[in-house]
């Protein structure tokens, strides 16, 4: 009795077509297709791909909810013991699709699942802490190395065996440290690592430090009374109706809106787009997140020089760090070009 596997791939690996066929709607085929054959070989009879779900990368990413639901149904109808997605190598939309499907299989179907992609694939950062992602090369020439590792991990998961450390199994470090025995003792590994480092050769740390993003603080404001303050928020405050449709999570943009005529924000003219907190109080009075009323008062009292006529806003909920960086740079550039020396950034 071998384990039943369902394989998720895109239109390219199904040999349906390239970019021009990326709008291919989900299709289920019996048995293995394309790279599934390599996986079947790697299973050595212990498992078998009973069916393959094929979906175009554009179709998936542009019809996320519908596509996910269809794909999940196709997968669960085939009653697999374990699911494999990809590998996506460096194809970004494919990697995101694989990660999304894998996470949904794990969370909603409760099935073990493995995917694979190159470490720089955007899907990697998004999903490596949620599902096992085997680290692959950056193009399909890496299939030969990837298939056996994906198959081996899938078998382990199907059997309910303990999964070893990331370095042993080949998956991307997922934030959970796992002990294992190396071939050499630590001091020997350290000497080798140092020799590589001294020679300018590549080396891999056994423990990556948590990532930091230290920013040197700017100089203090000395003359607040004559300084114009800009308002920026990731709390999602937008003009009523959210005219630019800033998403309630994973925002793909930021907004720039005129507040020069506002003394005070009210439920009549502003609201929040943020999906990560209870919106009632922010919708009642957006000043609670974007303190326009307090700043206007201070402006009148001469405590600050003025308020920049535009405020910038996005939704911080689930927004990728890379996106937030981009928005920050764009906003910062405009403010700096306008000679603004200080800004209040509110978050929630």
């Amino acid at each position: 009795m071998s384990f039943r596997v369902v394989h998720y791939i895109n239109q390219f690996f199904a040999q349906i077509g390239g970019e021009e066929k990326a709008d291919y709607a989900p299709e289920y085929r019996e048995g293995a297709v394309g790279p599934g054959l390599a996986l079947n070989t790697a299973f050595k009879g212990e498992a078998e791909i009973v069916g393959t779900v094929i979906c175009g990368d554009s179709y998936f990413n542009e019809n996320l909810d519908a596509a996910k639901a269809t794909v999940l149904k196709m997968i669960s109808d085939a009653k697999p013991d374990v699911v494999i997605c990809g590998p996506a190598f460096n194809a970004g939309r494919y990697g995101v699709a694989c990660g999304t499907v894998a996470a949904a299989v794990k969370d909603e179907l409760g099935l073990p699942v493995v995917t694979g992609m190159y470490e720089e694939n955007p899907g990697a950062d998004m999903f490596k802490n949620k599902v096992y992602i085997i680290a692959t090369k950056n193009n399909a020439a890496g299939m030969r190395q990837a298939a056996p590792k994906m198959a081996a991990l899938a078998l382990k998961l199907a059997k309910g065996e303990k999964v070893g450390a990331s370095a042993e199994e080949g998956y991307m470090p997922n934030g959970l440290r796992v002990n294992f025995f190396e071939a050499e003792r630590g001091s020997t590994r350290a000497v080798k690592m140092l020799l590589n480092k001294l020679a300018g050769k590549p080396y891999t740390t056994e423990f990556p430090m948590p990532s930091f993003d230290r920013v040197a603080p700017g100089p203090a404001i000395t003359d607040l009374a004559h300084t114009t303050i800009a308002l920026v928020t990731s709390g999602g405050i937008v003009p009523k109706g959210n005219p630019d449709h800033i998403e309630s999570s994973s925002a793909s943009k930021f907004g720039r809106y005129d507040i020069s005529s506002f003394e005070d924000l009210t439920a009549a003219d502003h609201e929040t787009a943020h999906g990560g907190y209870d919106p009632v109080y922010a919708n009642e009075d957006a000043d609670r997140v974007l303190p326009v009323d307090v700043l206007r008062k201070m402006e009148k009292e001469g405590k600050i020089g003025g308020i920049y006529p535009y405020f910038f806003t996005t939704v911080g909920n689930g927004t990728a760090v890379a996106s937030a960086k981009k928005y920050g740079e764009a906003i910062g550039k405009e403010l700096r070009d306008a000679g603004i020396k200080a800004a209040i950034l509110t978050s929630t």
Partner: protein
């Protein structure tokens, strides 16, 4: 300095009428040894047990592990400043009884931990399960304080190792290793093109049960300084550290420092092993700044290209480790640091109490919070009731059958931060 380390391979220990080494067996006259040790008035009794690899035996709570050695030729004697006179060691000839050790046990404090299982899954996590051990169960006189108790057991272990080491003085070693280190100028002349590498050896020095002694000097009172790599082989550095069994360096670790051994192995081939900088891990913050500044200053003075840094402990010492690493890197000296981790039982927590992007080359001895199940052993030696305390706090802790569920923390030497073991984590 040039040191010949002659190893006499020990494959068995037997208690007998006459202390000697014959055909690889170490015979111990425990009456004689006991009499010697009880000269210390702080000790009420010392009992002895012998344990061998593979036996179903658990030893706890382990205080220290010491390897018997004796200085045969050259200046000074082993354990200088403590057992022998204070003369500088590290050259000449030293004999080692290889394959065996003295293991001291004692309940200096109620929360004492430190398990050595000679078989079973626990044995895989301690190097001492591979040795024939003479276990010494020391009981203190009534009413002595913790610091006297710790001192008494420490001295007893060293005296026993010295007594046993003496038995090797006139023997012919089975194997001899020769270590040659160079001075600063001669090293530069001999190996002009090899990278200059140093070893920054961080020593526990926070206080009672957390101390290290160098030629008998409490390291917390010392400024960072330079040692010749071979001095450690004669016991220049001794452990007074008995807390956190998994990552405290026993005297055995100091005698057999793996970083020193591996760097000496490469000396003259791929690198020029210039020397060892020893430094401390004090509690007072200004001491940390001073010590890390000094370690870096010494490294610069030696014009090192790179340095291996090993630490001892967790929390407070993580700050020293990162300070040393940052300052060395800022001085242009490339570093690799060796540490262990406390990433929680699920491995999801922050492994170190301090961190910095400069520490981009790390070797780890593993996650000390990993939960391990130690099955019942036929025999428990030392203070068996300590098992209750060690196991305390875990679900299904100490089973009626004598098995223990605990974190790797409790196993002596399990996540050693000198890189003694093969255990790692990703």
């Amino acid at each position: 300095m040039r040191l010949e380390l002659g190893e006499i391979h020990i494959s068995d220990i037997k208690l007998g009428d006459c202390s000697k080494v014959e055909n690889g067996t170490l015979y111990v006259n425990v009456e004689e040894l006991r009499a010697l040790l009880l000269e210390d008035e702080d000790l009420a009794s010392v009992d002895f047990e012998v344990v061998h690899p593979g036996e179903s035996v658990r030893v706890l709570p382990v205080k220290d592990v010491i390897e018997p050695r004796v200085k045969v030729e050259g200046n000074g004697g082993v354990f200088p400043g403590v057992i022998s006179k204070v003369g500088t060691v590290g050259s000449g000839k030293t004999h080692v009884l290889k394959g065996c050790a003295v293991v001291t046990t004692g309940k200096v404090v109620g929360f004492q931990e430190g398990i050595i299982d000679m078989s079973g899954p626990g044995a895989d996590y301690t190097p001492f399960s591979k040795l024939h051990n003479l276990v010494m169960i020391c009981e203190p006189k009534e009413g002595i304080k913790q610091h006297q108790h710790e001192h008494a057991i420490r001295m007893a272990g060293l005296k026993a190792a010295t007594y046993l080491g003496e038995l090797a003085r006139t023997l012919t070693p089975d194997e001899t290793k020769v270590y040659e280190t160079s001075g600063v100028m001669s090293g530069k002349e001999k190996y002009p093109d090899l990278p200059r590498v140093g070893y920054v050896l961080m020593l526990q020095s926070q206080g009672l049960l957390h101390d290290t002694y160098v030629y008998g000097v409490d390291m917390k009172r010392s400024m960072p300084t330079i040692l010749n790599p071979t001095e450690t082989m004669d016991g220049a550095i001794l452990s007074g550290n008995c807390v956190s069994a998994c990552d405290k360096n026993t005297t055995y670790h100091h005698l057999n420092n793996p970083v020193i051994a591996d760097l000496l192995e490469q000396h003259g081939k791929t690198l020029n092993f210039v020397g060892v900088i020893i430094t401390n891990e004090n509690v007072y913050l200004m001491d940390k700044e001073r010590s890390s500044d000094w370690s870096t200053k010494l490294a610069q003075f030696l014009e090192l290209d790179g340095a291996l840094v090993s630490q001892e402990g967790f929390g407070n010492p993580d700050t020293d480790l990162i300070m040393n690493c940052k300052k060395l890197e800022a001085a242009g000296i490339k570093t690799v640091i060796i540490t262990d981790e406390y990433a929680g039982r699920d491995g999801a927590s922050q492994s170190l109490a301090d961190a910095d992007p400069a520490a981009d080359a790390v070797v780890t001895g593993g996650n000390a919070n990993m939960v391990i199940h130690l099955p019942k052993m036929d025999k428990v030696i030392g203070h068996p009731e300590a098992a209750n305390i060690i196991a305390g706090g875990f679900d299904g802790a100490l089973e009626p059958d004598g098995s223990i569920t605990a974190e790797l923390q409790v196993i002596t030497g399990a996540t050693n931060e000198m890189g003694f073991n093969k255990l790692s984590a990703r």
